[in-house]
Amino acid sequence: MQNGKLNFTTDAYSAKQLEETKKYLFAVKVKKRIKYLLKIINYLLLIGVGLFFVYPFVWMASMSLRPLIEALSFDPGIIVKDPQWENYLYAWKQAKIAHYVGNSVKYSILVIGLQYFTIIPAAYGFATMEFKGKKFLWATKYLGMMLPAEATLIPIYFFYSKMGLVDTWGGLILPSLFSMFGIYMFMGAFRQIPKEIIESAKMDKAKNRTIMLKIMVPMIAPVMITHLLVTFISNWNEYYWVLVMTNSESMRTLPVALRGLLQVDEGVPEWNIVMAGTMIQLAPIMLIYIFASKQVKTAMVGSSNKNKNLKL
């Protein structure tokens, strides 16, 4: 504004500046492209890492459909030219997988059906009642955590053999009925229910039994579904306990039976049949996982995450 004159001249439109702007815009464009490319590479890497965990199972499915000679070459390819569905039939009938599937189903159903009769009252007691010895009972959680299953196995097997519980369904499902995992999970859920509801029910002279069954259990239905999923998966996969507590073939469940398929007297096991058996073992869980992957993930991760800080 000197001398009453406005100076409007800028060098924004000078040839030099225009070129620089052009360069700058080009650099931004390139940067954007690179970023985009990196994003795609990142995504491809993500899928690649994911495949590293899924590919073996897919390969297993393809192995189970190959004829024996082809299977023994361990070809890493997935596509099978001439799928042999008879492998499954052979495994189902000749290798007696049908019998073991029946046992596995029986075991899971017995545990899932009976466990709530013991777990829910115990969880309710822990969550809402006061009594002598509560702290002591709670402290056994930590003892149970520190005691590895391998260590308690021998004493429990000894008790079982003295009580005639080895090789019986009762003995097989007994520890699952008192699983601390379930008790803590339901206890955490019961705690979440506002105390006012319980108190108002008590004002109406509702008994503990009615409060538990008619008020609290319906409120924690989602937790129950989670628990159902987790216990089904863990029972279906249970290996160690069943292996130790059964002697006879007639009681063994599918995972233990698969071990028997591996042990042959001479030469190599028939890998295609073994794979078919393993696929049958995997199938129900994988089906659940494919159709409800989100629920399974949150069930398995969430349950352990919530339980870690539970205090009396």
Binding site: V49, F53, G144, P148, K162, F178, N208, Y239
Partner: protein, 376 residues
């Protein structure tokens, strides 16, 4: 209406007579009289049946209604009686005890008793047939397994190596992967889902799968030969057998722990990161100075869980190597199973189990202490 009411009246009359007979039946003690009353009840019941047969279809429905009402009244009476007994019991005993029976039974039978029996049994030469003939031997069991059993000392070292190898491998991989995967896009979620797959598969199927993959002609060695390396026979080599099994267990559980850490990561408030970015902290500094300390609680949980679980890696060892070759992959858990369940040497097995318990307890307490200091 009137004749319908009459049906109810006759029905109730019959029932009351039968009930009174039944009460008499309970009171009398002579056998002959009892027989007579029994006959009378039968007669009345037959009369009732014949009366019912004479009714028309519509009347039968009414009859059924009356029957239902009577049944309900009876049921209520029984419930009342049960309630009275219940309240009598609960006045003396805290009702909590009845609710706690299952939990207490589980704790006693599956935790406390085995623990006590394990400690006591490790000092005895346990007789299988008649337990009362077992003889006290002091530290004889321990002496034997430490000096005579060639595999036991090896098993202890293998257990500790196995635990440290798997835990540290897992911690590094999962921490890096979790911070990489912790985003909420579709691809990230898909990747998480895929990584989680082995965790829900059974250890048995995963082991069988990896027996094939680690075969001398298996996929792993095929890939290695493409790179010009001749891979060893992973599971049958004394140097690689333990680490191979460790790798498989890590592979199985990566997805699970990654998801746990991601859950922990997503609970860290976003403003912390924004503040750090305003201060122009580099990505690595953010990771080191913010993510890891704020995650320490989750990390401790993962660490301890994996540590304890790594001592329980029974299924993988049993299926893949069975402790072999020459005891190179023998861990304590498998050794105990072998001594107790296969060789039926209870004393040895319990001594080994006690040592395993002590190791697990020691490491758990130590890890707790270390992490507590870090958190503070």
């Amino acid at each position: 209406m009137e004749h319908l009411r009459l049906i109810g009246k006759t029905y109730n009359d019959y029932c009351e007579i039968i009930d009174s007979y039944k009460a008499d039946y309970k009171k009398t003690k002579a056998k002959a009289e009892k027989e007579i009353i029994k006959q009378k009840i039968k007669e009345k019941k037959n009369e009732l049946k014949e009366y019912r047969k004479t009714l028309s279809k519509e009347e039968k429905e009414v009859y059924r209604d009356y029957q239902k009402i009577r049944f309900d009244i009876k049921r209520c009476e029984i419930l009342k009686k049960a309630d009275k007994i219940e309240s009598k019991i609960f006045k003396k005993v805290n009702p909590a005890y009845i609710y706690m029976i299952p939990a207490a039974f589980g704790a006693i039978f599956f935790t406390i008793l085995p623990a006590i029996f394990m400690v006591i049994g490790s000092f005895f030469k346990v007789d299988l047939v008649s337990i009362w003939e077992s003889s006290f031997r002091g530290f004889w069991n321990y002496e034997m397994i430490f000096t005579r059993d060639t595999e036991f000392v090896k098993a202890i070292w293998n257990t500790i190596i196995f635990a440290f190898f798997t835990v540290f491998l897992l911690m590094i991989i999962t921490l890096l992967m979790a911070s990489w995967l912790s985003k909420n896009t579709k691809i990230h979620n898909l990747s998480q889902t895929m990584i989680f797959t082995p965790h829900i598969a059974s250890m048995v199927s995963v082991s069988i799968l990896w027996i094939l993959m680690l075969d001398p002609q298996g996929i792993i060695n095929q890939i290695l030969s493409l790179l010009g390396i001749e891979g060893p026979n992973w599971l049958m080599n004394t140097k690689t057998s333990l680490l191979s099994v460790g790798f498989v267990t890590v592979w199985k559980s990566i997805g699970y722990y990654v998801l746990i850490i991601i859950a922990g990561l997503q609970s860290i408030p976003a403003y912390v990161y924004e503040a750090a970015r305003l201060d122009k902290a580099s990505k690595f500094t953010i990771f080191r100075k913010i993510t890891v300390p704020l995650l320490s609680e989750t990390l401790m949980f993962v660490f301890i869980m994996k540590f304890i679980n790594s001592f329980k890696s029974f299924a993988a060892i049993d299926l893949m190597t069975q402790g072999g070759p020459r005891g190179s992959s023998m861990v304590l858990g498998y050794w105990i199973y072998n001594a107790g369940r296969v060789k039926f040497n209870y004393g040895f097995a319990m001594a080994g189990a006690l040592i395993l318990t002590i190791i697990v307890a020691l490491f758990t307490v130590l890890a707790n202490q270390v992490f507590k200091k870090k958190v503070e």
